[in-house]
């Protein structure tokens, strides 16, 4: 009988030892004002549900990672695509979870959400009562009320939609993804934002991935040339009023994939990524041949230009399976500092 007791005791010992190892201590963040700075939206790995939100405090020059989880005790979701700041709120589009979370941009606290979307990518706020959501799979733009997060319908565009920009109440949406369409993904769809209606389509080059509006209200569209580098990449200037192409700059190398077109606050300096960071004045007649900032082995992933001081912010996704980095460069390309963010740091959102 003693030996029987020995057996039972052994089991109990193992069980209790294992249960002790089960514990894991959370590290919540007390809510409060975040101060000046910018958000870094970390995409996370596809189907891993490890997207996260970081906040870089310009007051302390420090990054706070996993701020969304720490404040709201929940994950951000699966593949965080974009963050749009408007008034005192930030609209975070979580692509593979197919929802939009709205947070208080000053505190990072969760406020409300819109779920059951298809494959949302970006948000274009039209006014206080209306905003558009572009979609990787849907041949249209979803319309919703940003105040109460109620869906208002869909604008059929005939093609999927990606990056958006608004000029004089006309929204220009790029057709980047070739999903769910037989026609080539090489257009910018023009939507009348008053009547929520497709009014035109401008053929550019394959895979238009980003667009900006310059100080002359000209639209600049960057096209990467296709997933398999089928076409030569191009930077294209469009006159939104006449909806015609005014300039086209072809990239010299077919195998390149330029993306992340950005513009400074004064609207005269373009920036984009093509492995390295390139800058180009809007009046230039050719593409820059030398980079403004050399990647030097880093995996530059996204790009942003600070609206106040023209600081260039670049993210480095590293090897995609560990935390990436955010680098801040002065407008002359000199490194200011760097900070670790989350897995695949992507979209940058500046607090207004």
């Amino acid at each position: 009988m003693k030996k029987f007791i020995y057996y039972i005791l052994t089991i109990v010992l193992i069980t209790s030892a294992c249960t002790k190892l089960d514990n894991d201590t959370p590290d919540p963040l007390p809510p409060g004002q975040l101060g000046n700075g910018f958000y870094v939206l970390n995409q996370g790995n596809f189907t891993s549900g490890n997207a996260s939100l970081s906040f870089f405090s310009e007051d302390s020059a420090k990054m706070i990672n996993n701020i969304f989880f720490k404040l709201n005790n929940a994950p951000l979701g699966d593949v965080a695509q974009s963050i749009t700041l408007w008034r005192d709120e930030a609209y975070i589009v979580v692509n593979n979870s197919a929802y939009i979370y709205v947070i208080d941009s000053k505190t990072g606290l969760f406020k409300r959400k819109l779920a059951e979307l298809q494959s949302p990518r970006f948000i274009q706020i039209i006014d206080a009562d209306k905003a558009y959501i572009s979609d990787f799979q849907l041949k249209g733009l979803m319309v919703f009320n940003p105040m109460n997060m109620q869906p208002l319908g869909v604008i059929e565009t005939g093609k999927t939609t990606e990056a958006m920009a608004m000029v004089d109440y006309e929204v220009f949406a790029t057709n980047w993804s070739s999903y769910n369409q037989t026609s080539t993904n090489n257009t910018v769809q023009v939507i009348d934002a008053i009547h929520d209606k497709l009014v035109d389509s401008i053929v550019v080059a394959k895979e238009p991935n980003s667009l900006v509006v310059d100080k002359h209200k000209k639209l600049w569209v960057l096209c990467s040339g296709g997933f398999m580098n089928e076409e030569i990449p191009a930077l294209i200037r469009i006159d939104p009023a006449s909806r015609t192409i005014e300039k086209r700059f072809n990239f010299p190398v077919l195998q390149s994939s330029p993306e992340q077109l950005r513009i400074n606050k004064s609207g005269d300096q373009l920036y984009f990524l093509n492995g390295d960071v390139y800058a180009m004045h809007i009046d230039e007649e050719q593409l820059p041949s030398d980079p403004k900032i050399n990647a030097s082995g880093r995996n530059f992933f996204t790009l942003a230009v600070h609206p106040e001081d023209q600081t260039i912010i670049v993210t480095d996704a590293g090897n995609y399976v560990q935390n990436g980095w955010v680098f801040r460069f002065a407008s002359d390309g000199m490194l200011i500092d760097s900070a670790q963010a989350g897995i695949i740091p992507g979209f940058i959102g500046f607090i207004n």
Binding site: I14, T19, D22, N96, Q118, N180
Partner: protein, 649 residues
């Protein structure tokens, strides 16, 4: 080397074996021959082969091999949830480094090199063994290890029938039938099963704000299988045909963060396979020759679709991926004993993998020609030496020569202490997906190469009413050219021979039996400590050198107590899975790390003449846990089964 040339070589080899063997022919009966080879099997138990007890196989006959190994071995099962994918890995390697042999023939899918252990019913298995390190290499196993699942012939057993009906939580049902006719020279056995579950268990979803209790949806599955065995023996010959067909249909549930996707997403996988082995074995007094022909066909269909939330509800996204996989293998195996101490084993294999896949640009195939030679020495003092080498040729390209050796002996001056030392070199060929996936497949990939070493100390004590066996081992494995999928300047990922992985660790296995009147107690404990790190120059640049690879727990343990009393059987199992990292970060954020968890299970069964009843209670303490990040797992659940057995000699 052309295929025709290889066939000629194979034929010549067969002829040589036949001539050599002819000299050994005697009139000894087949049953006596078998004993020679049984002795080899006993010797293997001394080294690093773990055999799952038959009583455990019987007790877990309604479960999958994934459940069986999770609770009764030291290997790590990566489980995506009930009915979903479950893969196995040894000693800090990956699922594609685990080779699975069914009756000696590999069943790893040619496209991804893996086996889904949730699709392997224990009901179809008569013998389960695991081999690691040099032992795995000597048995044609993978870099990590080898799982051997066998069916066994039995003659003169008469007519037997066994019917089982199981009902469990979450609308789970299982029906099993086993009919066997065993005559003097002929053994026919048919097994059939049908297992299904709605899998609609309740769990706490901590992803939404606020966290809420939810019911798992879209996780139902239906598996059906049929296994037919025909064994015929005549004097010195044994002819066997084994055929295993299975149909598996399952819905794939989204992860917890993705439950609110619009467009009514539908994701499912429908697979079927047919595996056939025809073998002929001829025994002499000191030799045996086996010819084995295998043909496996597997069809995999992965489907995902979402429809528009608006308007016409048209399909907005769809992936309809189909894989037609075929595998042929011809094998000749010759075993010869010399005197009382030496045994030679030589194997010659020709095989072809072919894949028609929507993920490849066109049909892909790979031919293998393999020669494997092994010598075994054993003596009465308990020495066992096994050494040999494999030489494989893949598509005309010679793979690295893979020698192996392991030695087991008593520690001088002791009777109960043994030690075992093993050294081996092994390789793992890239899967067809690694080579040909479109886009990204890299046809220039090299095979992964491993240098492995083991040391094992074993204590065995056997007395009249109790027995104890304790094994403590250390292992180290250096893998060169470890294949890793990495992003490129194009937006798709490409596999490359980048990493240089160092896997090392310790293993502890404890087994004891104690007889106390009519009571029989069994206690088994398995513990593994695993450190697997990437030591490549790139890892140094990326600052990940020395960090534990993703989803490999450092600590893993299980303990099972079993009690037999007259017609009663009781078992209590504890399974501990250590913390796992989900990224290569130095300090994993608590929100994304997977904390350690411990699960407790019990089972109780009673037999009455021809009937028996089984009751299984799993996750007794209703532990809320995740094996894979954001994959829901069931809480407390049960299964009740009633069985009817009939035997007539």
């Amino acid at each position: 080397m052309s295929l025709a040339y290889r066939h000629i070589l194979l034929f010549l080899q067969l002829m040589i074996f036949s001539v050599v063997s002819e000299a050994q022919i005697s009139d000894t009966l087949l049953l006596q021959q078998v004993e020679i080879f049984a002795s080899t099997e006993q010797l293997h138990e001394k080294a690093l082969i773990q055999k799952i007890d038959k009583t455990v196989l019987q007790a877990k006959s309604l479960n999958t091999v994934a459940d069986l190994l999770q609770q009764n071995s030291g290997i790590f099962i990566k489980d995506y949830g009930p009915g979903s994918l479950a893969t196995a890995s040894f000693r800090g390697t990956t699922a594609s480094h685990t080779k699975v042999l069914w009756n000696g023939v590999p069943i790893n899918a040619p496209n991804n090199g893996q086996v889904d252990f949730n699709r392997l019913p224990v009901f179809f298995v008569d013998e389960a063994q695991l081999a690691r390190g040099a032992q795995s290499a000597s048995l044609h196993g993978g870099l990590g290890g080898l799982v051997m699942l066998n069916n066994q012939s039995a003659f003169n057993q008469g007519f037997q029938i066994e019917l089982k009906q199981a009902v469990g939580s979450f609308n789970s049902y299982g029906t099993y039938a086993d009919i066997s006719l065993s005559l003097k020279n002929l053994h026919l056995r048919s097994r059939i099963f049908r297992a299904s579950s709605q899998n609609d268990f309740e769990y706490l979803n901590t992803a939404p704000i606020p966290a809420q209790k939810m019911k798992q949806e879209k996780a139902d599955f239906l598996d059906r299988g049929f296994l037919q065995e025909i064994h015929w023996q005549k004097r010195r010959s044994l002819l066997s045909f084994i055929s295993w067909s299975q149909w598996n249909n399952r819905n794939l549930p989204p992860i917890m963060t993705n439950l609110e996707r619009g467009g009514n997403p539908e994701e499912r996988q429908d697979d079927r396979f047919h595996r056939n082995i025809l073998s002929y074995k001829y025994f002499w007094s000191k030799a045996s020759l086996e010819l084995k022909s295998s043909y496996f066909a597997e069809y995999q269909h992965y489907f995902i679709r979402t429809t528009s939330n608006y308007g016409s509800y048209e399909t907005v996204s769809q992936i309809d991926s189909k894989n037609n996989l075929h595998f042929w293998q011809q094998e000749i195996n010759f075993t010869q004993t010399f005197g009382t101490n030496w045994e030679l084993n030589a194997t010659n294999i020709i095989s072809r993998q072919a894949a028609f896949s929507t993920s490849y640009e066109n049909k892909k195939q790979r031919d293998q020609y393999a020669l494997r030679v092994k010598m075994i020495y054993q003596d009465e003092k308990g020495h066992l030496l096994e050494f040999g080498a494999h030489q494989d040729d893949l598509d005309g390209k010679l793979m690295v020569l893979s020698p192996f050796a392991h030695f087991t002996a008593n520690i001088p001056g002791t009777k109960r202490w043994h030690y075992s030392v093993g050294l081996s070199r092994n390789y793992n060929a890239p899967s067809l997906n690694d080579l040909y996936w479109y886009p990204g497949g890299n046809p220039n990939l090299l095979a992964e190469k491993a240098l492995q070493s083991d040391f094992l100390l074993q204590y065995k004590l056997k007395q009249e009413n109790y027995a104890i066996s304790v094994s403590a081992g250390l292992y180290a494995s250096h893998v060169e050219d470890w294949i890793q999928w990495r992003p490129t300047e194009n937006r798709y990922w490409v596999p490359e021979n980048i990493s240089k992985v160092f896997a090392r660790g310790a293993e502890l296995f404890f087994k004891s039996k104690y007889k106390q009147g009519k009571l029989k107690h069994n206690l088994q404990i398995n513990y593994t400590f695993t450190r697997t790190t990437d030591e490549s120059p790139l890892a140094q640049i990326e600052n990940t050198q020395g960090r534990q690879l993703i989803y490999i727990p450092k600590h893993q343990a299980n303990a099972a107590y079993r009690l037999y009393w007259n017609q009663w059987f009781f078992s209590y199992t504890v399974v501990f899975t250590g913390k796992r990292n989900t990224s290569l970060n130095e300090n994993e954020f608590y929100g994304f790390a997977l904390p350690a968890y411990t699960l407790h299970h019990l089972s109780l069964s009673r037999t009455w003449k021809n009937f028996s009843a089984d009751f299984q209670l799993n996750n007794i303490f209703d532990k809320n846990y995740q094996a894979i990040r954001w994959r829901a797992m069931p809480g407390r659940n049960f299964t009740i089964a009633l069985s009817y057995q009939f035997k007539k000699k």
